[in-house]
Each structure stands twice: as C-alpha cells, then as structure tokens.
C-alpha cells in the first residue's frame, strides 16, 4: 500500500530529529497533549503532514524560522508516530490519511491569509474534535503572528479596527443571546417537536411568526396613533353591557378601537410649538406597518425559496432522502416507535409502488379517473361559487334584517354563516379523495390546499366587494367604523369556532375514533387546514388594520390562546404518517400568505385610500374628498418651505410617479 510506505517514511524522519524535541519545553508539552488524542489517526496525521509541507514551502525563508518549524513539525510527527504504533489504528485508516493530507495542507494554507473572524468561522466549520480545532488554531495563529512580525508591524489602525470588530462581535452575540432568552415558548416547542416531529412543529413556528408580525403592528399602532389619541380623548357616553365583546359595537364604537373615534385635528398641548397631525400619523403608521410586513414577507419567502427550491430535485423518488433524514428532534419514546413504524410502512409502500411502476392504466381506467377529477373540480369550484353567492346575498339582506331586529345579537348572523362555511366545506373537500384516489399523497395535499385557499380567498374577496361598493357608498354615518366592526365580528367568530373545534370537536372525533368506530382510528394533525385557518385570520387582520387599528392586538390575543389550545388538543392526534416535506410546505404557506392574501389586502386598501370618500362627521379624514388628499395637502404645505423640498422630491418620484409603481409591479 502506498500510504503505508508514506507513513513509514515520516516515522523515520521523526526518529532522526527526536533529540531536538526533547530540548524544547513547549513542543514537549504538545507532544504529551497530542498523545492523548490518538484515536483519530487520519486527522492527526493530516495536521502533522501539513506542517511538513509548510516547512517545505517556507524553507526559503531565514534559518531561524526554519528550525522553529522543524521543531514544531517534529513534535507533531512524533505524536503521529505514536498514534500509528497503537495497534487498533493500523489498517484502513492510514490508507485515507494520504487523501486527507492534501486537504489539510490546503486548509492551513487557506487559513493563514484570512481575516481573524473568517478564520474562526472556518475553523469552527472543520469536522474535527475540540482538541484538534484548538491545535489548528494555535498553529495558524503562530504562523500568522510570525508572518506579520516579519513583514511589517501591525499598524495602529488595523488593530483599532480589529478591536472594534471584536467588540461588535461580542455585543452582537450578547444581543442575540438576550433575544434568545426571551423568545417565546422555546420549551413547549421542544416538547412538541419531540412528540410530533418537525412537520407539526412547522405549524407552531408559523403561528409564532405571525404572532411576531402582530406584536410589531400593535406596537407601531399603539405608540403612534393610540397614545396621541388618548391624550385628547372625550368622555365616552355609551353604555357598557357586555355584549360588546361579541358584537364589537355599542360602547366600543366610541373608543380607540375604531377609525371613527380618531380626531382630525392637529394635537397641540399648551403653548408649545410641537404639534401632532393625526391624519398624517394615521396614514403613515398604517402604511409603515404594511410596508414592513411586505418586505419581511418578501425576504422570508426568498430565504425559504433559496433553501428549498434552488437545488432541483432530479430524483423523483426519494428513498435515499427518506432513509438518511431521520428526525433527530423526536425524543419521546412512543413517538420514536410510531415514527419507526410509519417509516417502515412508507418504505414498503414505496417499494411496492416501484414494483408496480410499469403497470399502465387501461384507457377505460384513465377515462374514469379523468372524469372523476373533472367532477371533483367542478363540484368544488361550484361549491365555492355558491358559498360566495350565498354570502353576498346574505350580506346585502343583512342591513334590512338588522333594521327589523333590534336584538344586539342579530349582527352576528353573517359572521356565523361565514364561519360555518369555513368549518364545513373544507371537510367536505377532503372527502373527495375517496373519489379521486391520487397516487401521490403530496399531490393530494396540494390539490386540497388550492381548493381551500380558493374558497377562503373568494369569500373574503366577495366581502371586500360588499364593503367597498355597498357599505361605503350607502351614505351610512361612519361607514369605516361599520366595516371595522364587521371585520372584528368575523375574526372573533372564527376564533370561537376554531377554539371550539380544537377543544371539543377534535376530542369528540377522538372518542368516536377510539370507542365507537375503531376502524377510523386516531386522526392525524391536518397541517394544511390549520395553516389555512391562520392565513385566513391574518388576511382579515390586514384588511381591518385601517378601519380598526386595535385589530393586531386582538389577533395577538387570539394567536396566543390558539397556541395553548392547539397544544392541548394535540393529545387527540397522532403524528403524521407520511413523510411530510415540512420545509417545502412552509415555503408554499408563506407564498400563499403573500400572493393571494397580502397582495389582495394591498389592492383593497389602495382602492379605499385612492377612490373612496371618507365619511363626513367622524374619523381623522372627515371632510376630505378622498383619503389620499391628506397627503396632497401636506405636500402642498411642504412646497412652501424650502428646507423640506427633498420630501417633495421623494414624493414626486415615488408616490406621484407611474414609473415607480410599474417597477414595483415588475419586481413583485
């Protein structure tokens, strides 16, 4: 064997120089240290070989340094000879030591010219043990210091920069540690991951992510709109009965919760010159919230997309992936057993599929399948359209109905019906799989998702149409507050339904599955349906944020409660049996949140701000022909002041120009 010869050569070399080592105390020590690490021969030998090569490459340098290097490499070589002598390490390991030698040489050579931060990163990235990494760092540092000493002294500036970057690094570290320590539900998430694996965990991560969005929006709204409004609030004369929590009307109409309560004046206290324009604050705060959401959605989408879809999946059937990707986060013993069972079933299914791959469907079978799919699509689309029509007529009729019934609970009819549709129809859709019989479970999930998102978004779309075209133009007093109220009701009803569903419905289903009809078994946690519910609620919040600035706060509470409710109701479920591509689905979910949901919201709000007339006697924009006129008049006043001309310039080139919107559309 070639490598054997090679190592023998080194040993001989070591023996030659051995006396020199003994005289040198530091290398002596390192010999002892290295001798402890004699388990991984290949690694150690690669390190020592590197030194040999270093010695050769730098041999044209001065004599003193050469001798130093000699001593150092000797110590390492010596340790290697010891390791090679230990009997269990001989054999195959040495055969690939020569292969790793080259890597080691390259490594050290590449480490030396690096900046210290990059070097630490690179060393950290080495698949070596701590001791070896420490050694490596010592060698490189020594080299480095020698080099810099010989070429020129470190100048002051570089040192200064170095220390600044160090300090920055430290502060950055401690900041991220602080954030980590306050990050929510770390422990709970760990337990969930331990019992159910990464796929169910992704739902909870998504929930937490949305919660962060809402906390941010709430803080923005609270500090820039609500607190200023508080300073000049008038006394609320309405009666508080308790129904208001459900209907959102009554007492709440005259609180900071709704658009109608906000003043249109400029807030000014005492004789101070500082003033606060409520109109501008309102419009700027809300657009800042939405713009932040837009960019963070865009960035997270890009991040997930880069991670998950850039590598093309050439191999359609991922048995290798199935086998090499054991979920190490699962720590619960029963969960591990269940996961093993599921994995074994899946492998078998996959194998039998491969065996039957060549079985082709007959023309007759293909036709029946085609018609079954067609029928399912027609029925589902028809169902969604029928639901939309029903919601639309109900909403139209609702105002008359409310005039006849003075009962405060009557306003809840529309949200109740909408929530019922959202509860029943998706379950009806999932029954279609009995007819469609997709071979690929993933395709089934995607089809189901598309149908559900179509249903939910078209219901929201039809409601938006109703609000903007009927409620806004009906000449009602303070229509913005009315819309805000309806969105509040929808959100609350949706929350009540999902809470009842997760606490009661899923429990009942479990009892039925375990006691009455045992063939049903325990159900699996339906990630797709649950995530869609979150997306639906978030869409409502984004639409409502203009009409009801406190909505993010309400959503915060609901998400917070839902987290615990879902956490409790998880005991009714078993982990998903199919290997679910969690990260890819996550990309898809964020994409859905961005594309129909967030862009739809932007369109709705754009129409509201540019095309609708604010109501005459309430809200910050009262008396204006359009909402956007507040900006126009602000720009006009700025034009008269020369020091603010840059704002006018920005306005003209961004908001006022068609090109900017054209480019924005292209980017999106």
């Amino acid at each position: 064997m070639l490598s054997d010869d090679y190592s023998n050569e080194i040993i001989i070399e070591v023996e030659d120089i051995l006396p020199g080592v003994q005289s040198h105390p530091s290398s002596n020590q390192s010999v002892r240290e290295m001798a402890q690490v004699n388990s991984r021969v290949s690694m150690v030998s690669s390190l020592s070989d590197v030194e040999v090569v270093d010695y050769q490459t730098f041999s044209n340098r001065n004599e003193k340094r050469r001798s130093q290097l000699l001593q150092f490499s000797t110590s390492l070589n010596n340790s290697m000879s010891q390791t090679l002598c230990s009997p269990e390490c001989l054999g195959i390991d040495t055969s690939h030591s020569s292969h790793e030698t080259i890597q080691g040489q390259k490594l050290i050579a590449s480490l030396i010219p690096m900046a210290s931060r990059d070097r630490i990163k690179a060393i950290r990235n080495q698949p070596r043990s701590m001791e070896e990494k420490r050694k490596l760092r010592k060698i490189v540092d020594k080299e480095k210091s020698k080099q810099s000493h010989h070429i020129f002294e470190f100048n002051c500036c570089a040192q200064c920069l170095n220390s600044i970057s160090r300090a920055y690094q430290r502060s950055h570290n401690s900041l991220s540690e602080l954030l980590n320590s306050i990050s929510l539900w770390q422990k709970t998430l760990k337990v969930i991951g331990g019992k159910f694996g990464t796929s169910v965990l992704s739902y909870f991560n998504f929930l937490r992510w949305l919660l962060k969005f809402n906390i941010f929006s709430f803080i923005m709204n609270f500090s820039f709109i609500i607190i200023p409004q508080f300073t000049m609030a008038e006394k609320n004369t309405l009666q508080f009965t308790g129904w208001e929590f459900l209907t959102g009307g009554g007492y709440f109409r005259d609180t900071v919760m709704y658009y109608g309560f906000y003043t249109n004046s400029t807030i000014q206290h005492g004789n101070s010159r500082a003033s606060y324009n409520m109109q501008l604050a309102y419009i700027f705060t809300i657009s800042a919230c939405l713009i932040t959401c837009f960019f963070s959605l865009l960035f997270s989408m890009a991040k997930y997309f880069r991670n998950n879809f850039i590598n093309p999946h050439i191999y359609s059937r991922g048995i290798a992936k199935l086998i090499f990707c054991w979920d190490f986060t699962v720590t619960h013993e029963n969960a591990v057993k269940l996961k093993q069972k599921n994995l074994s079933t899946e492998i078998r299914e996959n194998l039998s599929e491969i065996r039957q791959e060549n079985v082709r469907f007959t023309v007759h079978q293909q036709l029946t399948r085609f018609f079954a799919h067609m029928a399912a699509w027609v029925v589902s689309t028809g169902g969604a359209i029928a639901c939309c029509a029903a919601v639309y007529y109900l909403a139209e009729y609702n105002s008359e109905f409310l005039r006849m019934h003075r009962d405060p609970g009557a306003v809840l009819l529309l949200p109740f019906v909408v929530s019922c549709i959202n509860l029943v129809v998706p379950r009806f859709y999932s029954l279609f799989r009995l007819v469609e019989r997709y071979e690929m479970p993933r395709r089934e999930v995607y089809v189901l998702l598309i149908r559900n998102i179509f249903l939910k978004i078209s219901i929201i779309g039809i409601l938006c149409y109703y609000w903007l075209n009927i409620v806004a133009l009906s000449g009602e007093e303070c229509w913005e507050t009315l819309i805000g109220q309806e969105i509040y009701q929808l959100l609350l009803m949706d929350f009540v339904f999902s809470l009842a569903d997760s606490l009661l419905g899923e429990f009942l289903r479990r009892i039925i599955g375990m006691r009455l009809i045992t063939s049903l078994g325990i159900q699996e946690f339906d990630i797709a349906r649950n995530v869609l519910e979150l997306i639906y609620a978030q869409t409502l919040v984004w639409i409502g944020i203009f009409f009801c600035p406190l909505l993010p706060f309400i959503q915060m509470i609901t998400l917070f409660t839902m987290f615990y409710a879902k956490n409790i109701s998880l005991m009714n479920f078993q982990p998903p049996s199919k290997a679910w591509r969690a990260s890819q689905m996550m990309t898809f979910f964020i994409f859905l949140l961005f594309f129909p949901s967030f862009t739809g919201v932007l369109c709705t709000l754009a129409i509201t701000i540019w095309r609708l007339k604010p109501s005459d006697d309430c809200g910050p924009f009262r008396g204006l022909p359009f909402f956007i006129h507040s900006i126009y008049s602000w720009i006009d006043t700025l034009r008269t002041r020369p020091s603010y001309l840059w704002v006018v310039w920005i306005y003209q080139n961004l908001i006022g120009s068609v090109h900017f919107f054209f480019i924005l559309t292209l980017i999106v």
Partner: protein, 219 residues
C-alpha cells in the same frame, strides 16, 4: 445544581464560543447538564473538564434516550482511546454539530460518520442494512423482510456484473436489465462502485432541505 464553584472561566467560555456553534447560554447549560451526570466529588470546575462520562450515563439523558442512533452518536464523538466515554469537550462537540446554527456541511459530515457503522469511510451494504434496521426498529411487524431489504439496497451484485465504465454503466441502468431493482444505491451511488462515499452522501443530502432542520438535538 452544579454549584457556584463549577462556573467556567471567561477565557474558556470565549474559546468554546469560538470553536463551536453554541452560544454562551448553551455552553453553560451543557456544562450544568454534564456536571449533573458526574458524581458529587467531581463537580468542581477542573475536575469536570477532565472527567469522562460513560456511555450509559450519557444515554440516560432524555434528549438521547429514545434515539435509535444513540450508541453511534456517542461513539463518533468520543475521543477517549477506548471510545467508550465522553469528556465535556466531546459533549460540546456533539451539541455543536446538532445545534441550530451548525452548517449543513458539517451536519452531513457527521451524519455520514454516524451511519458508517463499521467506521471504514464508506457506506456499504452492511452499513445500509443496519441503518434501515435502526430506522424501522427491531419489532416483528416493522422490520423489513430479507427480500425487501435486498430490493432496497441491492445494487452491488448488478454493478459487479461488469458494466464496463461509468458512462456505459449509467446507460446500462436506464435502459438495461432491471431498471428499478435497487433504490438507495441507485439514487446515491454516483461512481457505481457499490458503496456510498462521503461526497456522494453529501450530494444526496444537499437535495433534502429537511435534513438540516431535522438533524438537531437541543438540550
């Protein structure tokens, strides 16, 4: 728990932070958990850094207890000569590789070593069948039958039939005799030598975005 005397020194902490992917908190937590495994008299700072903890004790940690690869994990990370115990630094190495921030590269490297049961630097059929057995568990109903296992792994025999070069080997596969008879190796074994080496393994893993998120153990 470990007592106030067993705090790590500042320099050591900084060094650990530089050399691993762990944060300060995580290192301190790891040290505390490690000390809990030690007998009372070894819990001082210097002692705990020198102490070795046997596999049985490490494996009693709830994070590792149920893991089907627990023995392999310990063996790969152990630097003791007999490879049957872990020191604190080995333990940190383990946690660093399994942490959130470790790069996919280093994760896949160690995954390969964990799956390489006989430590010979390649995944051969023996390794793969042991791996599959670990994944499916040892139960009667979940264990794959010999035929299934063969179908899953089988490739070596066909590759050994003498498909001349790598190029013709590929063609022989796609249009050849038994195109769908071997799964893992067919998918992963690029150079058709009947085993999977590290770079082939990393190539396969790189196509699986879930790998990095699931190759994780958090204390």
């Amino acid at each position: 728990m470990g007592g106030s005397g067993s705090r790590l020194s500042k320099e050591l902490l900084a060094e650990y932070q530089d050399l691993t992917f762990l944060t300060k908190q995580e290192i301190l937590l790891a040290h505390r958990r490690f000390c809990e495994l030690l007998p009372q008299e070894q819990r001082s700072m210097e002692e705990s850094l020198r102490a070795q903890v046997s596999f049985e004790q490490i494996l009693s940690l709830p994070e590792l207890k149920a893991n089907p690869f627990k023995e392999r994990i310990c063996r790969v990370f152990s630097t003791a000569p007999t490879r049957d115990s872990l020191s604190f630094e080995d333990f940190l190495d383990l946690l660093s590789v399994f942490s959130d921030t470790a790069t996919p590269d280093i994760k896949s490297h160690y995954a390969f070593r964990i799956f390489d049961f006989d430590d010979d630097g390649t995944l051969n059929r023996e390794d793969l069948s042991r791996l599959v057995n670990c994944l499916t568990g040892e139960g009667e109903d979940t264990r794959l039958s010999a035929a299934e296992m063969k179908q899953l792994i089988d490739n070596v025999s066909v590759a050994g039939l003498g498909l001349a070069g790598p190029g013709s080997g590929r063609e022989g596969w796609t249009c050849g005799l038994k195109p769908s008879h071997s799964q893992i190796l067919e998918e992963s074994d690029i150079d058709r030598d009947g085993t999977i080496n590290l770079s082939e393994f990393q190539h396969v893993i790189s196509r699986s975005p879930d790998f990095a998120s699931s190759f994780k153990i958090v204390l």
